[in-house]
Symmetry: C2
Subunit: 355 residues, 2 copies
C-alpha cells in the first residue's frame, strides 16, 4: 500500500530527473496519480516507466513551450510542443476555463501532445469554477470500426464533469469501446477469458481470448456488433478522433503515434503528435448556478433512488465508483500490483529517487 502523497512525491521526483521544471513535474505527478486514486490503475503509476521510455527515445519533450497558435474569444488551438500530455492537458484546460469565464464557454483543441492520463481529471478541473468540463483524446489505434478488421481508432475516451450542489458531481469518463484496456489487462494477468463482444480476432470474428488484440485482433467499439449498434460506438470514437485530431492538426485514425516506445510512429504522419479536445461551459451562462445545482441535486437523488433490479443494491450515478474508490484509497492507501512495484523500484534505483 502506498499513500497518494508518496506516489505523487516519487513521480514528481522522476519527472524532475528527466527534465521537467518543478512546477510541471508536480502537475504531471498529480494528474498521473489521480488515476490510481480513482481506481483506474491502468492509467496511473503503471504508466510512469512508459513515459520515461518515450522521453529516452526523444518522443517526449520535458521542457515544452506550450502555446496558443490560433484563437477566437471562445476557442483556441494549443501546440503542446511534444510535452507530456499530463502537463499539456491541464494547461489547455486552463485556457478553456479562462475563455469560458469571459464569453460563457471555451473550447480548446490540442495538437502535438502525448498520453494525458485519465480524461476525467481534466474535465473535473472545471468543477470548482461552477463550470461543466469536457475532455477527450485520441489514442493509439487498437479498435476496428464496425465491419472492419483494421485497427483504425484508439479507445478514444469522452469525459464530462457536471457540478451539483449538496450532491457530489456527475462525472462520466468512458472509453468508447465495450471494454477499457485496463479491464483486459486484469483478465490477461488472471489468464481469464473475456466476454464475447469485447474483442475480435484478425479475421473479424468475436473471440473470448483476452490476448486477442496482441495476436492481431482488435478491440470492439461500444455496442460490440452491428446487431447491438457497434456503429454507434464507432461513431462516437470517430467523433472524438476528428475533434481531437483533425480539428487541432494532430494525427488521427491509424496515424496516431503509439504510446509504447517499441512501436514506431508513422513515417508519414498527417499531423503533429496526438490530439486532445477540452471544453468548459459556465453554468451561469445558461441559468443561475444555484438554480442549476438545486436541479442537479434533484436529478442525482431521483436517479440514485431509481428502483433497482432484484438482488442489486442500488443504481449508480456516473462517477460514483471512482469517487468511492478515492475515498477508500485516501483512507487506506493505494494497492499496487507487484509487476508495477518492480517497475517503480527499477526507476527508483536508476534515478536514485527513494520510493
Amino acid at each position: 500500500m502506498y499513500t497518494s502523497d508518496q506516489l505523487i512525491k516519487f513521480c514528481g521526483a522522476i519527472f524532475r530527473k528527466i527534465g521537467c521544471s518543478e512546477a510541471q513535474a508536480e502537475i504531471a505527478a498529480k494528474t498521473l496519480v489521480s488515476a490510481d486514486l480513482r481506481g483506474v490503475d491502468s492509467h496511473g503509476v503503471a504508466r510512469l516507466s512508459g513515459y520515461v521510455r518515450l522521453w529516452e527515445i526523444g518522443r517526449v519533450n520535458t521542457d515544452p513551450n506550450i502555446r496558443i497558435v490560433h484563437e477566437t474569444p471562445s476557442t483556441a488551438v494549443v501546440d503542446g510542443d511534444s510535452g507530456l500530455g499530463l502537463v499539456v492537458g491541464p494547461s489547455a484546460m486552463k485556457t478553456a476555463i479562462a475563455k469560458a469565464a469571459n464569453v460563457g464557454t471555451g473550447w480548446v483543441a490540442v495538437k502535438n501532445s502525448n498520453h494525458f492520463g485519465i480524461a476525467g481529471f481534466h474535465a473535473m478541473m472545471a468543477l470548482e469554477k461552477d463550470m461543466i468540463g469536457v475532455a477527450m483524446t485520441n489514442a493509439s489505434p487498437l479498435v476496428a470500426p464496425t465491419f472492419s478488421i483494421e485497427r483504425m481508432l484508439g479507445t478514444n475516451p469522452i469525459a464530462i464533469a457536471i457540478p451539483a450542489g449538496n450532491q457530489p458531481p456527475f462525472v462520466l469518463d468512458m472509453a468508447t469501446t465495450t471494454a477499457a484496456n485496463g479491464k483486459l489487462e486484469i483478465l490477461m494477468r488472471k489468464g481469464a477469458e473475456a466476454p464475447l463482444g469485447w474483442i475480435q480476432d484478425a479475421e473479424g470474428t468475436q473471440i473470448t481470448d483476452a490476448e486477442g488484440v496482441k495476436k492481431g485482433g482488435a478491440l470492439l467499439p461500444l455496442g460490440g456488433d452491428r446487431e447491438h449498434s457497434s456503429n454507434k460506438g464507432y461513431g462516437l470514437s470517430a467523433m472524438v478522433d476528428i475533434l481531437t485530431g483533425v480539428l487541432s492538426g494532430a494525427n488521427y485514425g491509424p496515424w496516431v503515434p503509439p504510446f509504447v516506445s517499441y512501436a514506431e510512429p508513422s513515417t508519414d504522419p498527417v499531423g503533429d503528435g496526438i490530439g486532445h479536445f477540452f471544453g468548459a461551459m459556465r453554468v451561469d451562462a445558461f441559468r443561475p448556478a444555484n438554480e442549476f445545482k438545486k436541479h442537479m441535486d434533484q436529478w442525482i437523488e431521483r436517479f440514485r433512488s431509481a428502483k433497482p433490479i432484484k438482488g442489486i443494491e442500488r443504481v449508480l450515478i456516473p462517477g460514483d465508483p471512482e469517487r468511492e474508490n478515492e475515498a477508500i484509497r485516501k483512507e487506506s492507501g493505494i494497492p499496487i500490483v507487484e509487476q508495477v512495484v518492480d517497475d517503480l523500484q527499477a526507476l527508483s534505483t536508476r534515478f536514485s529517487v527513494p520510493l
Copy 2:
C-alpha cells in the same frame, strides 16, 4: 410512393390548418419530412397525426413566441413557448450559428419545447456555414438505467455533423439506446423477435419480445448489459438529459412529458416542456477551413477504405446510409407504410387538404 415535395406540401398545409404561420409551417414540414427522406421513417410523416393530437389537447402552441431568455456571447437559453420542436429547433440552431459566427462557437439550451424530429437535421444546418453542428434532445422516459427496472430516460439522441471538402459530410445521429424506437416498430409490425440486449421486462430480465416495452419493460442503454458497458450508454443518455433538461430549465428524467397525447404529463413538473441542446463551432475558429476540409477528406477516404471483414462490402462512414437513402428517395420517391397512409388520409379528409 410520394415525392418529398408532395409530403412537405401536405404537412405544411396541415400545420397551417392547426394555426402555424406560413413560414413556420414550411419549416416544420421540411424538418419533419427530412426524416422520411433520410430513411428514418419513425420520425417523419408517421408522427404528423401525433403532433396534431398534441395541438388538440393544448400541449402544442402553434403560434409560439420563441425567445432568448438568458445569454452570453457564446451561449443562450431559448424558451420555446410550447411550440413545435420542428420550429423551435431550427430557430435555436440559428441562434447557435449566429453566436459561432461572432465568437467562434455558440451553444443554446432550449426549454419548453416539444419533439423536434430527427436530431441530425438540426446539426446539419451548421454545415453550409463551414461549422460543426451538434444537436441533442431529451424524450419520453422509456429507458432503464443500468441495474434499474424504472424507465427514467428517453432514447436521448446525440447528433454531430462535420463538414468535409470533396467528400460528403460526417453525420452521426444516434439514439443512446442499443436499439432505436424505429427498429422496434419494424419488428412489432412483422411480429418478429428482438435480439437480446435491446429490451428488458418489468423485472429487469433481458427479453426478445419486441412488445416488451409496451408491457411494462424498458429499452436498454447502448451496451445492453453491464458486462458490455451499458453503464456507458446510460451515462451518455444521462449527459444528454442534463444538457437538454437541467441546463435549460426543461423537464428531465422521468418528468419529461410523453410524446403521445393519451399519456398525461407529470402533474408535478420540474421544468418547462422538453429540452434540447444545440451547438455550432466555426471550423476556422480552430484552423483554416480549407486545411480542415482537406484532412476531413483524408480521414473519410482512409476509413472508407479500411479493410472489411470477409463477406462485407465496405466500411461505412457515419451518415452514409442516410445519405444513400436520401439519394434513392429523391429519385424514386418515399415509400409510406399503409398504416401511415391511412393516418395521413384521415388528416386529409378532416382538414380538407388533398394528399
